[in-house]
Structure formats: C-alpha cells, structure tokens
C-alpha cells in the first residue's frame, strides 16, 4: 500500500515539474504585455532584461491617445460588440428554436445548407461582402457595416437548436393546452430554461466581435469609424510611434476579457466546447 502511495506521489511531483514551466511559458507573453505597458519607450528598447512592471502606464496611455483616438475606438468597439451580441443571440436562438421544435416545409434544406457550408473558409465571402456593403449599399465606415454582416454566423443556430431539442416536449405542450401563443412559449418558457446556454453563446459572440479584426479593417478604415483593434493595428509598424502606448492599448483590449474569463470560466468553456457540437 505504501509503495503505491509513494508511486502516486512520484507521479504527482513529475506532473507538476513538467506542467509548471509550461504554464509559466504560456503566461509569459501576457505578463510581458503588462510589463511593457508600464515601461517608458527608452526602457523597452534598452539592453537590460526587465521582467517587472514599472510605473509608466498613464504616460503610455497618453502617448497612445496622441497617436490615435483610442478611447473613441474603444467606445465604438464596446457599442458594436454589445449590439452584435444581443442581435445575434436573439436571431440565432429564434432560428434554433424553429429548427428544434417544428416540422416545416424546407427544414431539411435549411439544415443541409447550414451544415454543408459551415466549414467553408470565411475568406470566400470576404470579397462579395465588401463589394455589397461598400459599393452597393454604400455603408462603409458605419456601425451597420460592423454589426450586420457578421450576424450570418451559424454557430449559435446549431448550438441553440441542440439546446432546445433536448428540452422535454411536455413543458411546451402544457402551455399549448392552456392556449399560450407560440412566441410567448419561446420567450417566457424556452428562453429562461436555456439561460446557461444563452450565457455561453453570448460570451463567445461578444469575444468574437470584440477581437474581430479583418472585416472591420476592410470596411471601416476611416479614422473616426475604426474599432479598437483596427486603430491599434494601424500603429504597429509605424516608425515614430510609442510602443509603450501600443502595449497600453493591448492591455486595455485584453485585461477586461481576462477578468470576464476568470469570472465566467464555466460559461466560457461551455461556449468553446460547444464549437464541437454538430
């Protein structure tokens, strides 16, 4: 018995000896992001090794605000991500509800098209989306351009379809016998029951919108209409730019999401693992 428990101890030590350095390596870029954001530019570009934070974050932030209107860009990013998340959760859960709970003409075709195209690369629709939004609808550099086209994402439809189809029929039939209308059953019976799934979906969609780079880069390129990642991206590669400022911006984009991640880890992980539902 004691040899077995000492073997367990040995295994446990080996596990931690391997995993701890790997975890530190994985945290290192995030730690350095914070360290850089608190260092003056001449400290970042100096020969010494600096691994601890300094006190220059506010100066760096002011430099960033001088290089680009980052606060304004954050405002756009927050409003776009919130609006997108609400709309996308609503649209995809309605569609998921229809696919899960009703038999109707054309259902097979709709499901086949969604599943059949889900692995196509987003790059395929980029050019036509751009031509349509910028040239045909003349909506470049507007909020609509940032919010509406990405609503096509079908992940939520599949996720909510799965969630609603796992609910027992009696729940809804009882309400139907009472003569409750279908949209009320959806809003007041089904949605409240799906709250954990809705939370997971909302978090994933918010994160996707907050970090979205390529589409906002293409469609909203005017300075006053850029999202925060795009505004920050324009500074990378410039010669006369404050790198401490860029890092302050990176911290402002990242740290709030890390806090959300820590607080809502369960929903986060459920949302990502849901990518695997088919």
């Amino acid at each position: 018995m004691s040899s077995r428990s000492s073997a367990r101890l040995g295994r446990s030590i080996a596990l931690h000896l391997f995993l701890t350095p790997l975890a530190l390596i994985w945290l290192f870029p995030l730690w350095m992001m914070v360290v850089f954001s608190t260092m003056p530019d001449n400290g970042i570009f100096s020969p010494g090794i600096e691994l601890l934070p300094h006190g220059n974050f506010i100066d760096n932030f002011n430099n960033l605000q001088r290089d680009t209107n980052f606060v304004g860009a954050i405002g756009i990013s927050v409003s776009v991500a919130v609006t997108y998340t609400i709309l996308s959760v609503l649209l995809t859960s309605m569609a998921g509800w229809a696919l899960a709970r009703y038999q109707f003409f054309g259902k097979g075709v709709v499901v086949a098209i969604i599943l059949g195209t889900i692995t196509l690369p987003y790059a395929v629709v980029l050019i036509p989306q751009f031509i349509m939004v910028a040239r045909d609808f003349k909506l470049a550099n507007t909020w609509v351009a940032l919010i509406v086209p990405p609503l096509f994402n079908s992940l939520g439809v599949l996720f909510m379809r799965q969630s609603f189809s796992m609910m027992p029929d009696d729940l809804f039939d009882a309400a139907r016998v009472e003569g409750v209308k279908e949209w009320r059953i959806f809003l007041f019976v089904a949605l409240p029951l799906a709250r954990p799934m809705l939370a997971a979906l909302a978090i994933i969609l918010f994160l996707a919108s907050w970090n979205n780079y390529l589409w906002p880069l293409l469609i909203n390129s005017q300075p006053g209409s850029m999202t925060a990642p795009v505004a920050l991206g324009t500074l990378i590669g410039l010669t006369k730019v404050s790198w401490g400022g860029i890092m302050a911006g990176a911290v402002m984009l990242t740290v709030p999401m890390l806090v959300v991640f820590v607080l809502l880890q369960r929903h986060f992980i459920a949302g990502i693992a849901a990518g695997a539902v088919k």
Binding site: I49, I127, L207, Y213, P229, L232, A273
Partner: protein, 286 residues
C-alpha cells in the same frame, strides 16, 4: 414536434435573410466573380482570365507553399501539445488546477492585434526579451524578422501559443465525456496509465481530435493577421506570405476582385477536401 409552416418561418426568417444575403449569396457570387475580368468597367466574363493567371503566378505558389508548410508543421505540433495539456489538466493528481487552466486557456481571449504586438516586441532583434534570454544562456541571438526560416518559426510559435489552449478545452470536454468506469475496469485489470491513454483515451477521442484538426487546418489556412502584423505584410520578401495575405493584397490593395476570388476559392477547395477527409476518417464502421 408539430407541422406549422407559418409559425416556424416567423421564427426563422430574420436569421435566414441575413444568412442568405451575407453568407449563401456571397459564396455563389465569389465563385462567379472568379470567372470575370474585374479591372475593366463593366466587368466581363472571361473564364480563364483569373484562373489562368493563378496557375502561372509565382506569388500564388509562394503563398500556397508557405500556407501548406505552416499547416503541416504547426497544426500537428499544436494538437499534440493540446492533447498533452488536456490529459495533464484532467489528471486527478493535479493541485491548483484553476491556475494551470488559466495559464493555458487565457490566450483564447487575447485578440490577434494585441498578441501580435507583444510577439513583435518580445522577438525584436536587439531589444527583444527572447534574444536577451538566448544571449544570457550563451546562445547566439536570432534575427527573427529578416530571415525566412526564423520568421516562419515565429509565426508558428505565435499561432501555437494562441490556439493550443483553445483545442485543449475541446479535447478536455471530450475526455470528460468518456465514462469513468472504463478506466476503473482497466485499472482493476492493472493496465498502466500510459496504456490506458493509448488504448482507451485516444481511440474514444478520435472524432474530437479529428474535429480539432479540421478546425485548426481551416483556421490556419486563412492565416492573415499574424503575417500581416508580426512579420510586417508577409516579410521578409514574401517569405511568410500566406494565401490570406495574398487575397488581402490582391483584393483590397490592388482592388483586383476577380483574382482575389480565385485565391479565395482555392482555399475553399482545400477546405472542402479536408472536410471530406474528416467525414471519411470519422465514418461509422460498417
């Protein structure tokens, strides 16, 4: 389930409209555009104009080669690493599990722009912390940005850092759905942990692993931001240019929509081939 066309479509139509306008139609449209000469007004139908140019374009083959090279090296390394992370995070012997999970999963929330900026600084030739650390242990510093091999390695390191934890989350969820008693039975039969991994975990996890592979291949195939921001527009000299970057350059710098659509459909063709391979690999045994 009840048959109610009107009710169902009332719930479905708002989403379907968006889906049709911004996904289904562009997929078709992009295909049609790839057969048109788009730098004349009006565009004209010229079936071999873009595709003919594509198969004779060294820039296309360079981007294709780079993309495939990243795929072939980065994806297997990352999935293996994710598998290791998932197995170890799942170990009942692990203490302070939350801290380890945070370390590996945190990159999942980090935006491409933010982490590209950090990696640029960390791998800077003269002042980057990586070269300073290499120097301090007596190794020569590496010029990550002006030589192709280190530049490619840097892109792969960055992508692996960002996505390994993401795949580990999916794999971990897959592992936790394997019934506990399978392992208990094996332990009673004195099957070693290592053997349990190879003969129980891996086979039962195969569909999830294949799913992660497909997801990662399709993601890496479209790689854009990292070579755009970290190695500065696919530098040095196109050494890290990917299909995603070529598409961007052709479509949105040169405004050559027809040619860019042909590039996009090359990616679609690869994605379709990979998806079919996935279906074949995970098919139900007869």
């Amino acid at each position: 389930m009840r048959n109610r066309n009107a009710t169902a479509y009332r719930f479905l139509t708002p989403y379907l409209l968006i889906f049709a306008i911004f996904w289904v139609w562009p997929i078709i449209s992009s295909f049609l555009i790839s057969f048109q000469a788009t730098r004349t007004v009006p565009w004209r139908f010229a079936p071999s104009f873009n595709w003919g140019r594509l198969i004779g374009d060294p820039a296309f083959f360079n981007a294709l080669k780079n993309t495939l090279l990243i795929l072939v090296i980065q994806v297997p390394v990352m999935i293996s690493l994710a598998l290791v992370m998932a197995v170890l995070l799942n170990s009942p012997l692990l203490k302070a599990r939350g801290l380890y999970r945070f370390a590996f999963f945190a990159p999942v929330v980090v935006g491409e722009v933010a982490y590209s900026a950090v990696f640029r600084l960390m791998f800077n030739l003269d002042f980057g912390i990586i070269n300073k650390l290499l120097n301090s242990v007596g190794l020569p510093r590496i010029d990550w940005f002006s030589n192709v091999t280190p530049a490619m390695a840097l892109i792969m390191i960055a992508v692996t850092w960002r996505w390994a934890g993401y795949n580990a989350i999916i794999l971990l969820a897959g592992m936790q759905s394997i019934p506990e008693d399978v392992y208990e039975a094996a332990t009673l039969d004195r099957v070693s942990k290592l053997k349990q991994f190879f003969y129980i975990t891996l086979p039962l996890l195969k569909p999830v692993i294949v799913f992660c592979l497909v997801l990662s291949i399709i993601g890496t195939m479209q790689l854009f931001t990292e070579p755009f921001l970290i190695t500065e527009r696919g530098g040095p000299g196109g050494g890290t240019e990917t299909l995603g970057l070529l598409l961007y350059r052709q479509g949105f710098r040169s405004l050559n929509f027809g040619y860019a659509s042909a590039v996009a459909y090359t990616m679609a063709g690869l994605a379709i081939a990979i998806t079919l391979a996935q279906l074949w690999l995970t098919r139900e045994p007869k």
